[in-house]
């Protein structure tokens, strides 16, 4: 970077964040950075240095890249029209590829695969040594029995074998799961360059001895292929390569790639000013855009280089103005004051209940909304038929949306058996159930008291105090059954006949399942009708 930008390391480190690059870590030799997915042109040091030279003012405006008219041809046929119809290519000559440059190119290729390429589904890139290739090159379908020697192998393999046994075959084979027409790029002598989007051929492997490169980009969307190729070509040119065009023929239709001409978008200065809050002259605006490696032409159009694939709207240009101007030069201003704010009354109601529980000596706990099947269902020996599962959770511990807070509180007590008793805990939060448009959300508050003499009466005492204070009425209790509580030691709480929740002594089998040696009593109240779901 120091060589590419002519800047000392500390200056580079100071400015990198102002390009939108996160410094993840630094050591003597290198800086690990993370870039945002809207800037795939930052996938090489060349791209970053290009932007950095603009930001510090050593090289301004649009960097022009030019590909000389080349003579090489690629012939694409219709056999891949429904699989991966498009191919865009380029040649870069007279490169000096050291290990570091190759590492950069491979890392760029991977990043483009994952980003623009959506894990190779939309775009796949092949870099090849040009020397062994005999043009024209063909882009056409082969069947599963077709065999060649892929990169990383010493023997010929059939497509079938590659998909089943190689690492990339297993990782990306699903992209071709619905077809029997397998994309193949091969030359006039039958040498396979690439089996996109899976793997390259061995014969065109890029080494430090490689001088001339052939780039192929296959895609399901021609625009995305062109954009990826522009990014690759800009980096190769910055690495010292002399670019040449390749003509791709789809039957009679011929397309010359790469397309490196900048595009133009009418620049709306008023909008830029409104968004940024900066009052800049036309010249200052143009200077700012030039620092962002864009430009403003005399007709008032913004000039956008082909590798900048992120400019969709005027507001994107406004951001380029502000980055070029320098975010560190911006000053803050507080917007005119508005009305007084107010809390959500339901949230405040719930907060009041929580305060009362804490005042009563209960410790507030917070557990996850996603729980495991044992604590939610198994430990209480209740049916899991109405469970709400999430797809593909990383761990089974977080796989089910809870419909009650009692299992979470029991799990808390189960993890705290080494701590001093009595233990009194409560939690307030969301509970989830099937219904309505799929899932309905409620709010509940639950409390448990664990110690050698906890009892139904204790649970009732706390419940009555809470209800009387916050709902202004006494709760009635009548015998009931509930999956968490022991038969005969369980009641339903009601206010003027409307169910409010359950209280009782936790049933012995559940105590045992959670590893508890003391009796536990408590309650759970459904506040959905009184407090809207809150965070």
């Amino acid at each position: 970077m120091e060589r590419l930008t002519g800047l000392p390391k500390d200056k580079i480190l100071d400015r990198l964040p102002y390009l939108g690059l996160d410094i993840e870590g630094t050591d003597k030799e290198s800086v690990r950075i993370e870039y945002n997915p809207n800037r795939p042109d930052y996938s090489t040091d060349y791209g970053i240095a290009r932007a950095m030279r603009g930001l510090v003012g050593t090289e301004l405006g649009v960097k022009q890249y030019h590909a000389a008219a080349g003579k090489e041809q690629v012939l694409a046929d219709k056999s891949l029209a429904k699989v991966r119809p498009f191919i865009a290519c380029a040649v870069a000559r007279k490169l000096t590829l050291d290990e570091e440059t190759i590492r950069q190119l491979i890392s760029m290729q991977e990043d483009l695969h994952n980003g623009i390429g959506r894990k190779r589904r939309k775009v796949a890139i092949g870099l090849h040594d040009l020397l062994p290739i005999t043009f024209p090159v063909y882009y056409s379908a082969k069947d599963a029995k077709f065999a060649f020697t892929p990169l990383g192998s010493e023997e010929q393999m059939t497509i079938e074998e590659i998909l089943q046994t190689t690492e990339t075959g297993q990782a990306y084979g699903h992209i071709l799961a619905d077809t029997r027409a397998y994309p193949m790029l091969y030359d006039s002598k039958g040498v396979v360059l690439s089996f996109p989007p899976i793997i390259n051929g061995l014969k065109t492997k890029v080494e430090t001895s490689t001088r001339d490169l052939f780039v192929d980009i296959t895609s399901t969307d021609a625009r995305l292929g062109d954009e990826a190729l522009a990014i690759v070509c800009s980096a190769l040119a910055d690495a010292g390569g002399a670019l040449e065009t390749v003509t791709v023929s789809y039957g009679k239709k011929k397309v010359v790639t790469p397309q490196l001409e900048p595009s133009r978008m009418k620049f709306d200065g008023e909008l830029a000013q409104a968004v940024t809050g900066l009052s800049l002259t036309k010249k200052e605006t143009r200077d700012a855009l030039r620092r962002s490696r864009l430009d403003l032409d005399p007709k008032g159009f913004a000039v956008i280089p082909s590798y900048r694939v992120d400019i969709l709207h005027q507001v994107d240009l406004a951001e380029e103005v502000v980055i070029g101007y320098g975010l560190d030069k911006m000053t803050a201003t507080y917007p005119p004051s508005g009305d007084a704010g107010k809390f959500d009354p339901h949230a405040s109601f719930l907060e009041g209940l929580c305060l009362t529980m804490a005042e009563a000596g209960f410790d507030e706990t917070m557990s996850f909304d996603l729980v495991d099947g044992a604590s939610l269902y198994g430990n209480f020996r209740r049916s899991s038929d109405s469970r709400l599962e999430v797809d593909n959770p990383r761990t089974a511990e977080h796989s089910l949306l809870r419909d009650s807070l009692l299992p979470s509180l029991m799990a808390v007590l189960g993890r705290n058996t080494k701590n001093e008793y009595p233990q009194r805990v409560f939690e307030a939060g969301k509970v989830f159930a099937r219904g309505g448009s799929g899932v309905t959300e409620g709010v509940s508050i639950a409390a448990l008291s664990a110690h050698s003499s906890s009892s139904f009466t204790e649970a009732k005492m706390y419940l009555e105090a809470l209800v009387k204070k916050h709902l202004g009425e006494l709760a009635d209790t009548r015998p009931a059954s509930h999956w968490a509580f022991a038969e005969g030691r369980c009641a339903e709480a009601l206010i003027r006949g409307t169910p409010l929740g359950y209280l009782g002594e936790v049933k012995p089998s559940a105590l045992a399942a959670f590893g508890l040696d003391v009796p536990v009593c408590g309650f759970e109240l459904d506040l959905s009708k009184r407090s809207k779901p809150q965070g």
């Binding site: 964040p17 390009l19 939108g20 996160d22 945002n36 800037r39 980003g115 959506r118 969307d221 940024t276 809050g277 969709l312 709207h313 507001v315 994107d316 406004a318 951001e319 502000v322 975010l327 911006m330 000053t331 803050a332 201003t333 917007p335 508005g338 704010g341 949230a347 929580c354 529980m357 804490a358 005042e359 000596g361 410790d363 507030e364 917070m366 557990s367 996850f368 909304d369 996603l370 599962e389 999430v390 797809d391 593909n392 990383r394 761990t395 977080h398 949306l401 993890r415 705290n416 701590n419 001093e420 805990v425 969301k430 099937r434 448009s437 799929g438 899932v439 959300e441 779901p533 965070g535």
Partner: protein, 499 residues
């Protein structure tokens, strides 16, 4: 030796010794204390030289059977002091020692034997006969030990023991004697005042108007542990953040945790093949969709914005938008899913709202990642708002949360442009820290919702700030719910720092 005030138990024990030495068992019964309490206090007192102890042997006596001569005498007295031998033999029975009793009575000259008409007759000569022995038996029945038998009766006792009518049992015990220092300590303790106020004492105080003395206690002695109920630290910080927003004129909004992908992603101009929408990163509810969502109204506008920019002048993402993808139910990955609905609800009117709530990410848990965490997000809808206003709001917001500086770096979110990463200077750690994102909602977001005014938006995680406040390294500890930690943790407001 330093004088420590007497413990109430020590005081009771000393008081029981005031009238003279006492053995352990009697100390227990006279003090009304538990044996263990007495044992321990004797040990403290003797270590302070307030009592001395000596080991003594005490003898328990047990009457096995009544001496037959007493039965003999009683039977004789029932007959008016005269009885035939046959009747007495009959009353005692040969096997119950008639012979021996008769022999003793004669040799002790208690009785005379005469020949009568019907055989031999026994006459009581000594009216005081057997009184001495009777007295001893009464004592034995009361359970006195050997030490309690008067000297004069020791011979009689020895005879009963010899005859097997009384059993002796020797036990060793401790005799405790108060020392002069002990007596002094007791006296001074009694002068020190009352142990405890009672209604009687208080009524005398009321009557006299004079204060009474309370006994000084050992104020360095430990007290039992007590844990007041505490709020969870995350909830405490949420409460603080709500107050900060309220103080800035923001109103609170809430929303569902489960949202159609439409509100979590599509309405926020996140293309349907965006990596953030993958199962790997986002929780989708299995097998449930929002079937009511259809491509009409706002949804149709959003779809068109994705495909070709709709009326906004944007190029759009240039792909075919699919309503099915938008119907999937997702556990919101950010509260922007809620604030964007408030943007729609504003209808373009000036609006300042915030949401502090839980968000969900399909993450494996480690020291810096959780699958569920909290975010505090805010938006302002209003004419003429720009990036400088955003900086102004952020500076005030983070300032009130204890951070003295704010700077912005370029960043990227699909739904804001410009998009800014917020760096804050946190004085407590003396460092610049990354604290969430911010930006101006894109026209592709606001226009389809019917809002053409600028909307500035920001958000950040809550746990990170809380960990800094509490000096924590591992984010998982926040949700371990370890009661030891929840009870002992320090305050989040950092009052320690202020004091």
């Amino acid at each position: 030796m330093e004088k420590t005030p007497l413990h109430p138990i020590e005081r009771k024990v000393l008081a029981s010794l005031a009238d003279g030495p006492n053995v352990f068992e009697r100390l227990v019964s006279s003090s009304g204390l538990l044996p263990d309490q007495v044992r321990r206090s004797i040990s403290w007192l003797s270590s302070k030289a307030l009592v001395t102890t000596t080991e003594v042997t005490s003898v328990e006596l047990k009457l096995v059977a009544s001496p037959p001569e007493l039965v003999f005498l009683q039977s004789l007295r029932e007959g008016g002091g005269e009885s035939s031998v046959a009747r007495l033999r009959n009353a005692l029975g040969e096997d119950r020692g008639f012979g021996a009793a008769m022999g003793r009575a004669i040799s002790a000259k208690w009785v005379e034997v005469k020949e009568g008409m019907m055989g031999q007759i026994v006459l009581l000569k000594d009216q005081e006969a057997g009184k001495d022995l009777e007295g001893l038996v009464v004592l034995l029945k009361k359970g006195v030990g050997e030490a309690g038998v008067p000297e004069a009766q020791r011979g009689t006792l020895a005879d009963l023991v010899k005859r097997g009518l009384v059993e002796r049992k020797e036990t060793k015990t401790v005799s405790v004697t108060i020392t002069p220092e002990g007596a002094e300590a007791l006296k001074s303790a009694e002068d020190q005042g009352f142990e405890k106020l009672t209604p009687e004492i208080l009524s005398s105080v009321r009557a006299t108007g004079l204060d009474v003395k309370l006994r000084p206690i050992d104020v360095s002695a430990s007290a039992p542990a007590f844990h007041p109920g505490r709020r969870h630290p995350v909830k405490e910080l949420i409460a603080e953040v709500r107050e900060v927003y309220l103080s800035m004129g923001f109103s609170e909004i809430t929303g569902d945790a489960v949202q159609p992908a439409f509100w979590n992603f599509d309405a926020l101009f996140t293309p349907q093949d965006h990596p953030a929408r993958d199962l790997q990163d986002t929780f989708y509810v299995k097998g449930v969709r929002d079937e009511r969502l259809s491509r009409s109204g706002v949804v149709a506008n959003v779809a068109a914005a994705h495909e070709a920019g709709w009326q906004t002048g944007s190029k759009g993402w240039r792909y075919r938008w699919n309503v099915e993808e938008a119907r999937r139910l997702v556990l919101r990955t950010h509260n922007t899913a809620v604030t964007v609905q408030a943007t729609r609800d504003s209808g373009g009117a000036e609006t300042r709202v915030f949401s502090v709530a839980r968000v969900y990410r399909n993450e494996s848990l480690d020291y810096k990642h959780l699958a569920e965490l909290h975010q505090m997000e805010g938006i302002v809808v209003g004419d003429g708002l720009n990036l400088r206003h955003l900086m102004g709001v952020l500076t005030k917001f983070y300032g009130r949360l204890g951070m003295s500086g704010v700077k912005l770096w370029p960043s990227y979110f699909p739904y804001t442009e410009p998009s800014m990463q917020v760096m804050v200077y946190y004085d407590k750690v003396g460092k610049w820290l990354e604290m969430g994102g911010s930006g101006v909602f894109r026209p592709e977001v606001t226009w389809p919702l019917g809002v053409r005014k600028p909307v500035i938006a920001w958000g950040c995680g809550l746990e990170r700030l809380l960990m800094l406040r509490l000096g924590m390294e591992d984010i998982r500890e926040l949700y371990d719910n370890d009661l030891g930690w929840l009870r002992e943790r320090k305050e989040i407001a950092g009052t320690q720092d202020i004091l």
